[in-house]
Symmetry: C2
Subunit: 145 residues, 2 copies
């Protein structure tokens, strides 16, 4: 498997160990991680720090030219908010661990020519399946259901 | 003018006084502000805390049923990221101070039947015009240009 996705999974597992939702992301620029993060709903009581948003935030303020060469690796298909952030910054490529648990705004990203690769990785899937089984309410809250 | 928009403007002016981008928002639930905030790019070095996102974050974790009765007041037309957050949480109404400086994802919000009212408020416009004239680079960074 893609080694950057392994780093996103490290983030997802870190979140799980903290009692949080196991979704992680890394933002890669020129073969280097410039931001990494995971869902912070439980840990920080955050409604906006999804894994992708946390990785973007931890990358700090970047010029547009940097985002335009980045790839975002995320263990789960990005929701409307995270997809909107991808569009705002013109991130051209997203690698998605799985979209079986949740299918985000892939159609919207496609409309704007964002390249998407879905790995259907069993580790990403198992992390989510187990979490949702034990914490259905937290998961529903995270996707606005 | 709508008194909730006045509160969003208070947030925008607070940001300006701090040296930040003058965009503010308030999230209103049953005639009460449950979250308020402003752009934090300069103040916190944040790439994700637009005014709307800051207000959502400051509202804390809310159940879906609350968002579904909320109105988001924001001094400027919401960008793709903030529009995505509105869609994620199913916020049904947005009141926009102005969309002359920047027109966000109003078409996308319309597709999902989000009610939008644009006030074209001269105070909101003047705040942005003056800021952009003095800080064009910070503004461009904020919208991914």
């Amino acid at each position: 498997m893609d080694s950057w996705m392994e780093e996103a999974i490290v983030e997802a597992k870190k979140s799980l160990e903290q009692g949080g939702i196991p979704i992680g992301s890394v933002l890669v620029y020129r073969n280097r991680i410039i931001g990494r993060g995971h869902n912070q709903r439980v840990q920080k009581g955050s409604s906006i720090l999804h894994g992708e948003m946390d990785a973007l935030e931890n990358a700090g303020r970047q010029p547009a030219a940097v985002y335009r060469e980045c790839t975002l690796y995320t263990t789960l298909s990005p929701c409307p908010m995270c997809s909107g952030a991808i569009l705002l910054y013109g991130i051209p490529r997203v690698v998605i661990g799985e979209n079986e648990t949740f299918r985000g705004s892939e159609e919207l990203l496609k409309q704007y020519n964002v390249s998407q690769t879905v790995l259907q990785d069993p580790v990403c899937q198992a992390l989510m399946h187990r979490f949702i089984q034990r914490n259905p309410g937290i998961w529903q809250e995270d996707i606005g259901v």
